[in-house]
Amino acid sequence: MTHQPIRFYQTGTFTVGNRLLAQEQRSVQAQAGRTNSLNSGHRACQGCGEALGARYAIDAAMDATNRQLVAANATGCLEVFSTPYPETSWQIPWIHSLFGNAAAVATGIAAAMRVKGRENVRVVAQGGDGGTTDIGFGCLSGMFERNDDVLYICYDNEAYMNTGVQRSSATPPAARTNTTMPVGSSTGARFGQGKNLPRIAMAHEIPYVATATVAELRDLEAKVRRAMEFRGARYIHILVPCPLGWGHGSAETIRMARLAKETGIFPVFEAEHGEVTNVSKIRRPLPVEEYLRPQTRFAHLFKPPGHPEIIARLQQLADRNIRRYGLLDTEAAS
C-alpha cells in the first residue's frame, strides 16, 4: 500500500497536517517551505479544484525529484489562468504546448535531457480532460506506447470549462453542459459515450497508472511520489471539481470530490503494469444522489417529475465501480 493511513492521532492523516506527527510523517502541503509551484495571483475562479490539484501534484513532484522538474502544459483552464502574458504563476520551469501535443512536447524534453546526460531532471506533462482525453489523446497514447519517461497528469473537471462548459469525452452521463442541454427528451450527456482514460492507460501496460482526488491529499501525494520511483510512461488522473461547470458552491469543491469517491462514482486506485495493485476504500458509503443533488449540472434529474430511472442508472455505474475495484471494505472501515 502506497499510503498507509495513520490512525488515532486525533485526525490521523485525514487533515493536511497534524502537529502530533513526526516531521518526516507530514505531508508536503503542510510544510511552510513547500514550493507553491502554482503561486498566488493566478486567475482561476473562486474555489477552483484544478488550481488546488495542480499545486498539490506539482509540489509533491518537486519534493520527490529534489526540485529537478520541468513541466509541459497543454492548453486549457490551467494554462490560461496561470499565464496571462506577460505574467506567470509557475515557480518551476514550465512550457506551454499546443492543446493536443503536451505529451509529445514532454517526450521531447525527456529525450533532450537524456541526450544532455541530465536524467536526474524529471518531466511532467499536464492538461485538462479536454486536452487529454480528446485533443491530445493520440500524442498521449503514443507516449504510453513508446514508454517515454514522462509523468502525465490529467486534471479532470469533466468538460471544457475554459471555453464555457462544453462536453468532453470525460463528461459523465446525464450531466448538463452547454452542448448536452437537457431539452425535450434529452437528459444531458448520453449514457454509453465517453472514455475511461485510466483504464485505457492501463491497457497500454505502462509502469504506473493512478487516480486521485483533491479530497485526499495524502493519497495524492503518495501517488506522485510513487510515480517518480518509476522510469517510463506514467499516468495520474486527478478528479478536480469545478464550481463553475458543475454548479456547486465555491466552498464545496473538496466536498464534491469526497462525495465522488465515497459514492463510488469515481474509483480511486493505482495500477502497475496494467494491474490494479491498490484501491482506496470507501469510508462512509453513500448513495449517488448525495453527490448529484448539490450540482446544478444534475439539477434536471431532480426537478419534478424527476428522473429516478436516470439516477438508478448512475447508481448502477457506481455499483459497478464498487464491484470492479472492491471499493467497499466489509471489515471495519476507517
Binding site: 486525533q10 487533515t15 493536511v16 498566488s40 486567475r43 482561476a44 506577460p86 465555491s250
Partner: protein
C-alpha cells in the same frame, strides 16, 4: 537587457502582481468558539484548552492550564458528574471524550511528580477569611491566594475536605488523594485552622482584621421526615453515618439495612452498608428510576454491588426489626400517590437520606444578609446583602455538587478580589458556542471511548478500595486525542493546505495562521474544510 524573442515585447512577470483579493465579496476570519465542554463545566474549566496539551503529551502544561480554574483535579477526576461529557460534541459522532478520566490522570500525575502551584509574585496586603474547608472554601482560598491575598480558612471539623470527606465514601475518593490536593493549597501559604468553628461572622471578621469573608459552611444538617417508630427502632441519618465512617465511630447498622431516599447520598450509604457487612442493603424510594435524582452511573455501580431498590415506595412505620412500606403510584403529573397497599420489610436499621439543610446560626444578626428557602441569598458577584461578606457552595442556591462548589469558590474569589480593589468584576464576553453543525467531522479518526478499569465485585462488597481505576499514560493520551477541539484551532494545516490561492500563511507551531487578503478570493473552502469550526465567513464591505 536581454534581447527578447520574436513578438515578445514585455519582460516576464510574476502573477503576484495580480491582487486577486479584490474579487472577494466575503472573507474568512479565524475565530475561537466556546467548546460545549467548557460551556457546561460548573467550575469553568478550559477543558479543550488543557486537552490540547495532553494530546501532545505535555501533561504538566495540561495540568497547569487545568488548575488555573480548578485546584483539585485528582478529586474532580473521581467525583465530578462530568456535565462536560454529557455535552461533548463527540457524543454525537460516536461516544463522548473521557474528559473526567483524563482529568484524573493529570491530577494523579501531578501528585506523583510533585507539581506545585506557582505562588504569586506580589502580595496585596489584604486579608480574607474563608469559613469552611469544603470544595467551595478550598477553591476560594486557592484563587484568592493566587491573587496575592492572605487567606485564613476556619474549619469547624477536625480535618479539611467538607463533604468530599464526610459525604463521599473513600471507595470513590481515596483520602490520600484528597489530603494531597488540600496540602498543595495549604502550601501556597493559606492558613488552615481546624477545629475552629465560627459562631459569629461579624466578630470573627472584626477580631481577625479581615477585609472580606467568604462563607462556605455547606449543608450538614440532615432533613428529617416524620415516621412513626417504635422505641426500639434504629433510625439514623445519612450524614451521621457517612461522617461516622471518617471519625472512627463506625455506625452499627445490622445485617439488614434500609436507606430512605433517592439521591446520591442514599446510594453512598447503601453501598457503604454493603461494605460494612450488611447482607441486605435496600433503598426505598418513592418515585421511579427515571425520576431518581442520583447519578445513573452511581446507581449502576450500586446495583452491581448487590444493593436493592424498592421503587415507588414510602416508609409508613418503623418497628424493632421491620418496617412497613406503602406502594405508590404516579399520578398524571408524575407525582407519587399512596395506593393503600402495604408491605413489610425486615430491617435492623433505617437510614434517612432525605437531603440536608444549612446551619445558619453563625449568621444571626448580620445586617443586610438575607436568607430565603433555607439558603443564603447572594447577588451575581456571590456577595450577600452585607458588604464584604460573600457566600457559595451548598449554603447558597444551586445544584449541590463538588464541582458547583468549586465554581462558586472561583467566582467568589474573582469578585472578592475586585471588591477589595473597589472595583466590580465583569464576566468577559463569551465566545459563540461551537455547536456540532460547525464541525467538519469527516476529518476525525474513528476511535471508540477508552474504558476505565473496575474493581472486582467481590472486593467492592467487602472492602473500601477504590472502585474505578485510572487510565495509564497511553490510554490517557489516546483518549485526549479523541478531542475534536471544537471551535478552537489545533493547527491541522487544513486551511493552509486546501486554499487554491495560497492565501493562508502558516505562522509556525503555536502561532496558528493568518489570511493573506491580497490574494484570498473568498471561496470559503477553508471555512467548510476546517475540522473544528475555527473559521467563519464575514461579508466584505464593498
Amino acid at each position: 537587457m536581454k534581447p527578447k524573442p520574436f513578438a515578445i515585447t514585455l519582460d516576464p512577470g510574476s502573477s503576484l502582481a495580480n491582487h486577486t483579493g479584490s474579487w472577494r465579496t466575503v472573507r474568512p476570519e479565524y475565530v475561537d468558539r466556546l467548546p460545549p465542554c467548557n460551556h457546561a463545566c460548573p467550575a469553568g474549566e478550559n477543558v479543550q484548552g488543557w486537552l490540547f496539551h495532553a494530546e501532545a503529551g505535555d501533561y504538566e502544561q495540561a495540568w497547569r492550564v487545568l488548575t488555573r480554574d480548578n485546584p483539585l483535579p485528582a478529586v474532580m477526576g473521581r467525583v465530578c458528574y462530568h456535565p462536560c461529557e454529557s455535552s461533548c460534541n463527540r457524543g454525537q459522532l460516536d461516544q463522548s471524550v473521557g474528559i473526567n478520566a483524563i482529568e484524573r490522570y493529570l491530577g494523579d500525575e501531578a501528585l506523583r511528580r510533585g507539581w506545585k502551584f506557582q505562588p504569586p509574585e506580589r502580595q496585596s496586603g489584604k486579608r480574607v477569611l474563608v469559613i469552611g474547608a469544603g470544595p467551595s472554601g478550598l477553591s476560594a482560598a486557592y484563587h484568592l491566594a493566587m491573587r496575592g491575598h492572605a487567606v485564613t480558612i476556619r474549619e469547624a471539623g477536625p480535618v479539611a475536605g467538607g463533604m468530599m470527606r464526610f459525604g463521599i465514601p473513600k471507595y470513590r475518593l481515596p483520602r490520600e488523594v484528597l489530603d494531597a490536593e488540600v496540602q498543595r493549597i495549604v502550601d501556597l501559604g493559606v492558613t488552615l485552622e481546624l477545629n475552629s468553628k465560627v459562631d459569629d461572622v461579624l466578630a470573627a471578621r472584626r477580631e481577625g482584621g479581615f477585609d472580606a469573608v467568604f462563607l462556605a459552611v455547606g449543608a450538614h444538617i440532615a432533613k428529617r421526615a416524620y415516621i412513626p417508630a417504635g422505641s426500639a427502632a434504629k433510625m439514623l441519618d445519612a450524614v451521621s453515618v457517612l461522617r461516622g465512617m471518617e471519625t472512627g465511630e463506625q455506625p452499627l447498622l445490622g445485617r439488614r439495612v434500609v436507606v430512605y431516599g433517592g439521591g446520591n447520598t442514599a446510594l453512598d450509604v447503601a453501598r457503604t452498608a454493603k461494605r460494612l457487612g450488611a447482607e441486605e442493603s435496600i433503598i426505598v424510594y418513592r418515585r421511579t428510576r427515571e425520576k431518581m435524582p442520583a447519578h445513573e452511573s452511581e446507581l449502576e455501580e450500586a446495583l452491581q454491588e448487590g444493593v436493592l431498590v424498592k421503587w415507588l415506595s414510602t416508609i409508613k412505620q418503623a418497628g424493632e426489626s421491620s418496617i412497613t412500606v406503602e406502594k405508590m403510584a404516579l399520578d398524571a403529573k408524575g407525582n407519587p400517590q399512596p395506593t393503600g397497599q402495604f408491605e413489610t420489610l425486615e430491617a435492623d436499621s433505617v437510614v434517612l437520606a432525605l437531603g440536608q439543610d444549612v446551619d445558619l446560626s453563625l449568621l444571626d444578626g448580620v445586617p443586610g444578609l438575607e436568607v430565603a428557602d433555607g439558603v443564603v441569598k447572594v447577588d451575581d458577584s456571590m456577595m450577600t446583602g452585607h458588604p464584604g461578606i460573600f457566600a457559595g457552595g451548598d449554603m447558597v442556591k444551586g445544584e449541590r455538587t463538588v464541582t458547583v462548589g468549586i465554581g462558586h469558590g472561583k467566582l467568589a474569589a474573582r469578585n472578592v478580589d475586585a471588591w477589595l480593589r473597589g472595583e466590580q468584576w465583569v464576566h468577559p464576553p463569551q465566545h459563540e458556542l461551537a455547536t456540532f453543525d460547525k464541525l467538519n467531522t469527516w476529518y476525525y479518526t474513528d476511535a471508540p471511548k477508552s474504558k476505565q478499569p473496575i474493581l472486582d465485585t467481590i472486593r467492592r462488597q467487602s472492602t473500601f478500595d477504590e472502585v474505578v481505576g485510572g487510565y495509564d499514560e497511553t490510554t490517557a493520551q489516546f483518549e485526549a486525542r479523541r478531542c475534536l477541539s471544537c471551535g478552537n484551532c489545533f493547527e491541522c494545516d487544513n486551511c493552509y493546505g486546501v486554499c487554491p490561492d495560497n492565501a493562508v500563511i502558516k505562522l509556525g507551531p503555536g502561532k496558528r495562521y493568518e489570511f493573506n487578503l491580497d490574494y484570498c478570493k473568498g471561496c470559503g473552502i477553508c471555512v467548510s474544510e476546517c475540522p473544528c469550526g475555527a473559521i467563519r465567513t464575514v461579508a466584505e464591505e464593498i
